[in-house]
């Protein structure tokens, strides 16, 4: 018997599939990087060829310089914005999930207060923020409140959906086995709601950053020091466009970081059992 007969048989279909898989793996990381490099290069060339002055549009090199030279200021501002964002996200989790559980446990409470949660959500935060800063003395508290108003609703609505999405047979089963309200909530509804909650959390992460930035713009500087949004505004007044871009880059990086961290958390919590974390061989 020849060796060839014992070798694994790979047909052309299989070869094509494996090649597509390799390309997919490579492209997922390399393509966005290529796009970014090309954009930076194009940006640089446009600035150079058109001789655009740096106080109108600085090239990527100048933005990089600003990022390096102003790192001290920007880092401090980033910490402040980051702190407000994370605290607001924390409050959105506690407030959103807490309200969802409360609404779920009492239909009366839900009927009484849900409409107001919706009103709070649909009113643009920029329009409420000035009022908030009139009545709330502490700037930090005001900013937290703004960011929370924007961020809590996705957590509330998706957790509510999750708590109500319990498999009806499981619900019957718990009833037949004489489960208490507390057991039903803790052992059945909360685990059922977890994937929904995590979905809402990913949205809330981005929104709490937006809320923090808007709050800063409305609150202005002073008192608690300046966050990234205030730095952007201030640099704008001084026509320091490069620093505006540098601060903007940091804001974007912060948003990406929050999203990635929450996606990781979601993956870790769901990978063992939820359909969304299931990787299928095609």
């Amino acid at each position: 018997m020849s060796i060839a007969e014992n070798a694994p048989v790979i047909d052309t279909d299989e070869v094509r599939r494996q090649r597509a898989k390799r390309m997919e793996k490579l492209g997922r990381w390399s393509l966005p990087v290529v796009v970014m490099l090309a954009t930076l290069l194009l940006w640089d060339r446009i600035v150079v060829w058109n001789e655009i002055p740096h106080y109108i549009l600085p090239g990527p090199g100048r933005v990089w310089d600003s990022l390096v030279n102003d790192w001290g200021i920007l880092w401090e501002a980033g910490l402040l914005t980051g702190k407000i964002t994370l605290m607001a996200l924390g409050l959105a989790i506690v407030g959103g999930a807490g309200l969802a559980i409360l609404f779920n446990q009492s239909r009366m409470v839900e009927m009484s207060f849900y409409p107001y949660a919706v009103i709070l959500q649909v009113t643009p935060v920029v329009s409420i923020a000035p009022l908030i800063f009139i009545y709330v003395d502490s700037k930090t508290a005001g900013m937290l409140l703004c960011a929370w108003i924007v961020a809590f609703f996705p957590v509330l609505s998706s957790t509510t959906l999750g708590l109500n999405s319990v498999d009806h047979n499981l619900r019957d089963l718990y009833r037949i086995y004489g489960a208490s309200r507390w057991q039903k909530l803790w052992m059945l509804q909360l685990p059922s709601a977890l994937p929904y909650f995590l979905g809402g959390l990913k949205i809330a992460g981005g929104l709490s950053l937006i809320g923090a930035v808007v709050a800063e713009l409305v609150a202005g500087t002073g008192g608690v020091g300046a966050g990234l949004a205030a730095r952007i505004q201030e640099a704008g007044y001084r026509l320091n466009i490069a620093r505006m871009f540098a601060a903007l880059t940091l804001v974007a990086a912060m948003g990406v970081f929050i999203f990635a961290a929450l996606s990781l958390l979601s993956h870790l919590l769901l990978r063992k059992w939820h359909e969304s974390a299931l990787s299928r061989e095609t």
Binding site: L170, L173, G178, P191, W273
Partner: protein, 257 residues
């Protein structure tokens, strides 16, 4: 095993009616006595009230009139249920799912570990105790569901078309396993099905029901001793019982046999 009419009573339904919205009669005057060790099939077309009967027995519904009495009263652990779907908690392992009836009564895992493993052994899944439901096939999930229903050794197990969604090969296998289980622990079962063949193979009492309004029209006895083997499926007696049950079902559906 004792003859059917000499078994101690577990539960008695007397003239039970269930009406929805004041005019839809789901169940009309159902009376039935469940004896210990009975394997009863409720056989009938859709809408004959067989699932309503199960929901009434499991206290998920209250009868409009009539009574359902457990002999000597009853408590939460007296009943085990298996639904058409496996109805497992996807976030819990196989063993944790089987633990549920105990857990809801406040028993720690450690204190009932032996019972859980014993139940899993009875359905042949002791090696999968730490797997999650999504790693199991449809038939295996159903076995977990059965293990969960019997882990507390309830006085009565209700099964609502448990194998209807499975392929025929798996279904036959699970039929055999269920009979084996029945032989080992002599459980009392009410099994809802619309398969004549399944009801004859599994049960010793077949209660044939008709629809609109849902009612009992006949009871047949299958006098074949347990444990039943695969040979019963191909025997002349089996064919004769199927014939009887089919005739009764035709009668239930208003078709001349």
């Amino acid at each position: 095993m004792q003859p059917i009419d000499q078994r101690p009573t577990v539960l008695r339904m007397s003239n039970v009616n269930k009406t929805f919205n004041g005019n839809v009669v789901a169940l009309n005057g159902m009376s039935m006595t469940v004896g210990q060790g009975d394997f009863i099939s409720l056989l009938g077309p859709s809408g004959c009230g067989k699932s309503t009967a199960l929901r009434l027995i499991s206290d998920l519904m209250v009868p409009t009139s009539g009574k359902i009495d457990w002999e000597g009263g009853h408590e939460v652990g007296d009943l085990g249920v298996v639904f058409q779907e496996p109805t497992l908690m996807p976030w819990a392992t196989v063993a944790q799912n089987v633990w549920l009836p105990y857990r809801l009564r406040g028993k720690s895992y450690a204190s009932v570990k032996d019972e859980i493993l014993e139940a899993l052994k009875l359905v042949g899944l002791e090696k999968f105790q730490n797997s999650y439901p999504r790693e199991l096939s449809g038939g295996m999930k159903m076995r977990v569901s059965i293990a969960r229903a019997m882990v507390t050794r309830p006085r009565l197990i209700l099964m609502d078309e448990p194998f209807a969604a499975l392929d025929e090969i798996t279904r036959f296998k699970l039929n055999n396993d269920l009979l084996e289980l029945k032989a080992k622990i002599n459980c009392t079962v009410i099994f809802v099905t619309h398969s004549v063949f399944e009801s004859v193979f599994l049960s010793d009492r077949i209660i044939v029901m008709a629809a609109r309004p849902g009612r009992v029209i006949r009871e047949l006895h299958v006098d074949e001793a347990y444990p039943r083997s695969e040979e019963f499926r191909t025997s002349a007696e089996y064919a004769a019982y199927c014939r009887q049950a089919t005739d009764a079902l035709h009668e239930a559906m208003g078709v001349a046999a």
